[in-house]
Symmetry: C2
Subunit: 488 residues, 2 copies
Amino acid sequence: MRWEIYPLDKDLFPYVENDAVTKEFLQKLFEILFIFIKETNDRDMKVLNFKHPEEMFKNLDLEIPNNGKSLQTLLDDCHTTLKNQVRTGHPRFFNQLSCGLDLVSMAGEWLTATANTNMFTYEIAPVFILMETVVMRKMREIIGPGWENGDSILAPGGSISNLYAFLAARHKMFPYYKEKGLSAIPGQLVMYTSNQCHYSIKSCASVCGLGTDHCVEVPSDERLIIERKAQGHIPFFVNATAGTTVLGAFDPIDEIADVCQKYGCWLHVDVSGLLLSRKYRYPRFQGVERADSLTWNPHKLMGTLLQCSTIHFKEDGLLMSCNNMNAAYLFMQDKLYDVKYDTGDKVIQCGRHNDIFKLWLQWRAKGDEGFEKHMDRLMELSEYMVKKIKEMSDKYYLILEPEMVNVSFWYIPPRLRNTPHTPEKEKLLGDLCPIIKGRMMQAGTLMVGYQPDDRRPNFFRNIISSAAVTEKDVDFLLQEIDRLGRDL
Amino acid sequence: MRWEIYPLDKDLFPYVENDAVTKEFLQKLFEILFIFIKETNDRDMKVLNFKHPEEMFKNLDLEIPNNGKSLQTLLDDCHTTLKNQVRTGHPRFFNQLSCGLDLVSMAGEWLTATANTNMFTYEIAPVFILMETVVMRKMREIIGPGWENGDSILAPGGSISNLYAFLAARHKMFPYYKEKGLSAIPGQLVMYTSNQCHYSIKSCASVCGLGTDHCVEVPSDERLIIERKAQGHIPFFVNATAGTTVLGAFDPIDEIADVCQKYGCWLHVDVSGLLLSRKYRYPRFQGVERADSLTWNPHKLMGTLLQCSTIHFKEDGLLMSCNNMNAAYLFMQDKLYDVKYDTGDKVIQCGRHNDIFKLWLQWRAKGDEGFEKHMDRLMELSEYMVKKIKEMSDKYYLILEPEMVNVSFWYIPPRLRNTPHTPEKEKLLGDLCPIIKGRMMQAGTLMVGYQPDDRRPNFFRNIISSAAVTEKDVDFLLQEIDRLGRDL
């Protein structure tokens, strides 16, 4: 084998004409990746092999050399990297809404990498641009009537999607803003959002010049709008969250839409998922079609690989008039083809990663029906978990009835069982979360997140959003936390 | 073979325990991808098979079905997609600065997809977070003395990187801005940039509330700073471009740094590449270490797969204090490990795609030396092209001596040869660009970009940034444009 003479990247395409080394290198990589995929799906394998940063640094050779390493070393690097990576697609990974390893979506991402193009023009991404058109239209149709002829774009993550909504709202209300800036607006702009919203909403207020003091963290209270108007301020943007990050709670979209209508505010809805399930869509999304914009992240409940976020507008043309900078040197109008398919001028990014192919391919694989079943199954498993927690009410305390796949709870060790549930006890239970999480990571058997919120100390928030999870994994989770925490 | 009974995605992991169908599906995908890679590197294959959007729609089945398609159909989809995609890694693709198909970087992206994680915490991306630390520090060391202990982050594209610089500059000057907003600043903020800068700089002015009227498109003219100050405005941010998008021109960084120092402005430098070449670094980057922030996109001259953009700051801590929203529910401080490695709170994104692995692996493969040789080779080829154009001065008009890999020229058809070069002639030559480009795309033999700038009608801008290009490809390019355009 040629490998014995240490080929370098100079032995790959395009440096050589013969394909042998390239094929062998990629085939070997394929084997390494496939082992990782198998192990990810193997319940006998750990979710992670935890090491502290300093220990990890010592164990790995991360240095950038002066002279290039051999292809064999690169393959070893790949192997070592995966060995030390957390298996986010493992059936016992409950840590994040974006997890699982959908293999069709992954196949899509391999192809995306191989095609290596930029989504800014039809010229260099013809098929992908058309796929984006098709899938975005479909998603708007799912949002509801009145959205078919709107506009949409894929953005690098939900936070940037939310930023696009904010920018469009401001542009719609003050079209001269783009040139003149905030100083030309006759009053302080104010936005409203539920305090359970994703922090990126508040971030918009900071980035775009409102200041976070003018992001009022109550979405639907008319009085707070009237109060600000009385001060000469201009309420212009309301965010409703359909599935909050921590609790998975739903703001009452229809009620908020009434307030927005009355006061001429833009309504944005930030959606975690579930729109595809007829069973769970109502009443959660009642009134969603009344929104002006909507963020929907397929990398969450749909299991599309990271990153895959979409932002939709009911009105067409806004994205373009809001964001275009007339960069004639990039987005020429005198092209061979119909330039309405060029998207580069619609976004504040210039380069845009191809996030559509993996979603398109996955949707082809599942069909609407498959995605709906997937959503329903995740909800069914979450309901199963709630049922089990209630059955084990000595060991577990359910914080609230979930509306989504977020199940929030405390673990109660033996010494605290059979004592009244008081704020002091909540504090004690909260103190246990980081300890149990630490043990969990050291053991490597499980990953569940915890955090405080504005009303509670630390608590566990379990997320079931991976197709790999079964009832037995939920059972395991509850047994394992008990095993890890019972002496505390 | 089981394939005859039409397996669906339900026959893959995690829906089944047996790995046979999964492995076969991915192996077949691998074969399809490898054929594309081979064809990309084959000069006998076309760069693209152009179809107009409507024709493409007719030829492809892009619809999302109600019921999922078989795995064989998905593989056919992959094949068809690649057949209709532009081969951006083809040796005759000269259309964009981000092109080529570096196979080690691609291998890295396959692994990245398979590992499917988010870069916001060490908890779920331990190895990748450490790689980011190592590579970012290395890049800062390359920028120059004083940068070692700064801070950096990978962002989704150069435009967002530039936005991060803008936000940090504003935060540094007005720390209360984050909460109070623009209305609390005692004057109109003004930014300065060369008019050849990337349009994302102007976009910052729009997004962040300055208004594009307050983005002055001259970078280093003291008078324009004094003039605005006299109006009570606050000049605060200057962008210098090191390698402009169209012409590849370099702003005089050192001179601009003098002005910034005198007037207390933040200096940002937007870099296309070349920093890694000792031969070409000076005098182009003279004074670069005096900047406060610097955008550097490895997906450009370094050939890293899209997207890979980095933003660097000389001062540590700014990114965090500027962008963090204290999202205690995501970025807890009471974790098992040292949370200084968690990056989520430093960015306005929440999810962050893993763009580091493909760069790290590529740098391991090339070493510093390999990247330097790559840069020098690209410049050598550009110089070769300039020489050829000068030799063919009857057929080609060189617009200016390039400082980078951008070679700007007009093609002169026989009927316009031997006539004086006047503005009227430039207009005629400009009119030919879209026609020749159209023919080029129809023929599929070549891709070169064209655009107007503020001083000229359309002209061709050739980019050599792919390792696949050789002198013979440059020769081919010049022959082919002549073949396509000589009757015009």
